[in-house]
Symmetry: C2
Subunit: 375 residues, 2 copies
């Protein structure tokens, strides 16, 4: 069986895996293909956390004996008991002849365990077919497993000259409707949407997705969030608010049923929240990915603290101009041009008359606050 | 002879015409192809103002009699005596059978005159093959003829978040070397490069092209230009400086041999120079196109006054951030988001790891100053 055939089937597992996007968190996206006598006899994918894994989904569909069949899967099968039994045992029991795996599990504690078990059971194992694509497909899961932190995505919708709003506050709309729908659909992909308090006050967004409602997180140091904002009225899930220690008991009691207020202290040296601390707290709450939508100051702080994993920059082919207009990324910024954050592996995508740059920031200088360094 | 053949030959005239780019101003770019018995027997293009026109160039190369041949040309042949005799007479004399013209002359005073003469002489004339492309090819000339003003090109080199410099002034380099060479080559295409005085003071550029030295124009209201700047040392042509009325006789006398200082008054209502007035003066000096390279304030004013015909926005895939960093387009900006300047017919072009957006601004609201309205 040639490499082309393997590649084709692994690509099929990617396409299957993607069907679960937005619903499997905290699990990875997995697709599985079963082949017997060079023919695909079943496929499956992980549909939702708690439901069967992709391999099991596919195996259950096959009526004939699986002995001698081949299994293709984009991620190393699991070897542990979670909400479901370990897949690797089922694969061994079914007497597969061969298992083709795009990439091993990123979790250092389980990485390679299942592969070893399969080999010990006498199954032929091929690992490393399109491994980069397999990692990109599960970029959220890989970040989670490696860093025990949520995957952070920064989203911007700006004019060609980098503006997101006028001095007057007017910001509607910069991109076209198709683009805004596209951006809204991205919310479905991630567990939480995060904004700064200024965005809540100025734009009063609901921050919902198209198919599902993400967690909503607001960075609101002085607890200025208006009680009548859309976030409260158009959300069924609790809002998570990060605020500085406050004596405003009244506001806290008003918010009791509407939001979970998490008190964090600002780093003394920077006067800013330590975003890694906030991300850790979100991770502990089961939030595996955070979609940061702005505003300029919030995005600026995320870049200043080097905690962004991916960017979606939507551009409208327009010039807004204005010395006092707001630009997409504020904060402190870099100290020197040659310390600018490089965006790697970027892709251009046209969306009707707007366009989108998707890429991965690579932070050159780890711009830690002094407080972080001390730890 | 089918349409495909015509189109192919007209495209050939475009390619020939382009060879003269940067050297023919104030003339248009013209290429000519002569066909006899379905075979191309000669080609020519306009090489430089003062040298023969494309049609004559091609005709001179043919040794056999031209009677019965066909001429393909991207622009209506001239009918007037300029530095050279009118081409239309030569074409008639040569007894061409057919003349195929991509587009008529844009100059309202001569438009169609040659076509009429050719028809009257019994020559078959076809007009309107790829007319939009033909107009784009000579966009400078078309603007000149229609508005009696230079064609204005705005160039920006910015980060993904629209920044061109840090608060500290650091701006080197945002784009990669290949991109900067590409941008420098653009200077060869236009008659003059224009910058604001802040750019001269901060960056001290020489503003030269690769193959030729453009005119250099500086908007310098208070005549702050440093006498030891690179512009003076690395230019053989005189610099043109636009300044407000000044009593600084000393500075004026120092500048006497280095620059031509043109005194213009600011519009009372806006406190800004009337850029149309400046462009008119440049046009009268024979400058047919102006490449505006910044900085933020200068570009902002050009957009504020709706005098930009084309944009080149170079992007480095980087995030600079910073509330106080400089963005590419300053000035007043639009008053409402829905009045933003739309960029039409834009194209994306990748330059190694940077990218470029080329397009044509369409100004919705004619943002005239009150002074202009009064006239």
């Amino acid at each position: 069986m040639d490499r082309d055939f393997l590649t084709k089937l692994i690509k099929k597992t990617f396409a299957l895996a993607k069907k679960g996007e937005g619903f499997v968190s905290p699990n990875p996206l997995v697709g599985a293909v079963i082949v017997k006598d060079k023919k695909v006899i079943a496929t499956g994918y992980h549909k939702k956390a708690g439901l069967p894994h992709a391999e099991i989904e596919a195996m259950r569909k096959v009526k004939m004996p699986l002995e001698g069949a081949e299994l293709y899967v984009n991620l190393e099968p699991c070897s542990h008991w979670g909400k479901t039994p370990p897949c690797v045992e089922e694969i061994i029991k079914a007497k597969f002849k061969k298992v083709v795996i795009a990439t091993p599990d990123p979790n250092p504690q389980v990485r390679g365990k299942s592969i070893k078990k399969l080999i010990q059971a006498g199954i032929k194992v091929v690992v490393g077919i399109l491994p980069e694509e397999a990692e990109r497909l599960n970029e959220v899961f890989f970040k989670n497993m490696r860093k025990r932190l949520p995957f952070v995505v920064a989203k911007v919708a700006q004019s060609l000259d980098g503006k997101i709003a006028l001095k007057s506050g007017d910001s509607k709309w910069i991109t076209k409707e198709e683009t805004r729908v596209f951006a809204k659909m991205l919310r479905d992909k991630y567990d939480a949407v995060l904004v700064g308090i200024n965005t809540v006050i100025k734009d009063d967004p609901s921050l919902n997705g198209v198919k599902k409602e993400p967690y909503k997180v607001v960075i609101d140091p002085s607890l200025r969030i208006p009680l009548d904002c859309n976030l409260f009225h158009k959300s069924s899930k609790k809002i998570i608010i990060f605020a500085s220690p406050t004596h405003n008991k009244k506001k806290l009691s008003y918010l009791k049923d509407k939001a979970e207020v998490v008190i964090v202290t600002k780093a003394k040296e920077t006067g800013m929240f330590d975003l890694k601390e906030i991300l850790k707290i979100l991770y502990q709450k089961g939030i595996m990915s955070v979609f940061v939508e702005g505003g300029a100051n919030t995005l600026g702080r995320f870049f200043d603290q080097a905690v962004v994993d991916k960017i979606y920059f939507f551009f409208a082919p327009k010039i807004i101009g204005g010395e006092e207009s707001f630009t997409s990324v504020g904060g402190e910024g870099v100290r020197k041009i040659n310390e600018a954050v490089e965006i790697k592996d970027w892709k251009f995508r046209r969306i009707k008359d707007d366009f989108l740059i998707i890429g991965y920031p690579k932070f050159k200088v780890k711009r830690k606050s002094k407080k972080q360094v001390k730890r």
